[in-house]
Symmetry: C2
Subunit: 225 residues, 2 copies
């Protein structure tokens, strides 16, 4: 949809400076051997529940921190702290996505000796996709109740992610959701997507996902060596 020239210029400005700042954040994190993972999805797709499970799975062997992005409330950070992980809440007060500058503002509070830094973005399958936060890995989540037609309808999140996590697979018996179709359509948009079928309730797919994250951390460390 056409934007005015002024709108386009301001948007380019914002995205340009965001990109630069994100690149410097990524460099610092990678130098410290930290794998930063940005999680994108609609509200209620299960980002926090997935993080709770990943946290449980990895916390005995790795140092993990979580940045929680929300428009209002500190509810998600509280859930993460309950499982014994440090969580930093960014409240955007209306803004529909996180930006690199918000990460930069709290950067000093993030311990340099982390292994994993998970960033849970604002629940929104659209806008967060345009903003690099300095992550090394981007995960897009889609839950079974949202429907198998979403990758084509919301392509940007799938184009810019390396990993596609299907969540709430325990609900498959109750809902018309074609797993093969959703994977096929997602890979038509982005053929390189790694796909995981998961359920935070039944535990399905979580071990595989955690093993993949560990492999990615090792790769990052090898590149540093």
């Amino acid at each position: 949809m056409a934007k005015s020239k002024k709108e386009v210029l301001v948007l380019e400005d914002i995205l340009g400076s965001n990109k630069k700042l994100a690149a410097s954040i990524r460099q610092k994190l990678r130098e410290n051997g930290i794998l930063a993972v940005n999680l994108l999805s609609s509200p209620g797709s299960g980002k926090t529940s997935l993080l709770e499970k990943i946290g449980f799975c990895l916390k005995d062997r790795y140092r993990i921190g979580v940045i929680e992005g929300d428009i209002e409330t500190e509810r998600d950070a509280e859930r993460i702290r309950k499982i014994g992980l440090p969580a930093w809440q960014i409240i955007t007060h209306g803004a529909c996505h996180l930006e690199a500058k918000m990460i930069a503002r709290i950067f000093d509070r993030i311990p340099a000796d982390l292994d994993f830094l998970f960033i849970e973005n604002v629940g929104n399958l659209v806008c967060p996709a345009s903003f690099d936060l300095g992550e090394s890995l981007r995960l897009v989540l889609l839950s079974v109740p949202e429907g198998d037609d979403k990758p084509r309808k919301y392509p940007e999140a799938f184009i810019t992610s390396q990993v596609f996590v299907i969540t709430k697979c325990d609900l498959l018996p109750h809902l018309p959701f074609d797993v093969e179709r959703v994977i096929r359509e997602a890979r038509e948009i982005n053929p390189k997507l790694e796909v995981f079928k998961t359920s935070a309730l039944s535990g399905e797919g979580l071990e595989e996902l955690c093993a993949f994250l560990e492999k990615k951390l090792e790769e990052l460390r090898r590149q540093n060596a």
Copy 2:
């Protein structure tokens, strides 16, 4: 989160001209006795399914048209046409919400003798809330799988709506979702919210919702008389 002065000015500009245009759209629609209803929710909350059911329920007695807002694809408009209703697709090509100017561009194609004009916004619980489209009634949908903690986390959509529709209530036996809590928290944000518990699958609550919409149309017509 602080925006630059330039960003704030451009945003005020956009919202200001959107508001003016929306007011003139609303006036024209109301003069024609058309009740325009703007539907807001996350992707996959069931906006199109609800519209299909409302369409079935009302189409023998009323003239109904549907505007479908999507980032990509004409899938939703095709679903609506299948039940015999006219549907106009607005593809936003990346934009995360509908704006009044997008409605204005297709306004000439909307028959003046409609009773109901439903506008299905882009699937996004955040940004569409800031853009008046000239509707007389705004419905926010939240599906049971999204979780009962969403009104406080995404307040703007609940503040600016008159109606809160809980969808996919057939899934209540399978999910931890406290209906009383979600209604209480939504009404703490907006005490005037009308609430409907619905399921497009079982049909729960649809008759009540349709009767409410008919009542709202009658009110609009009485104000015109």
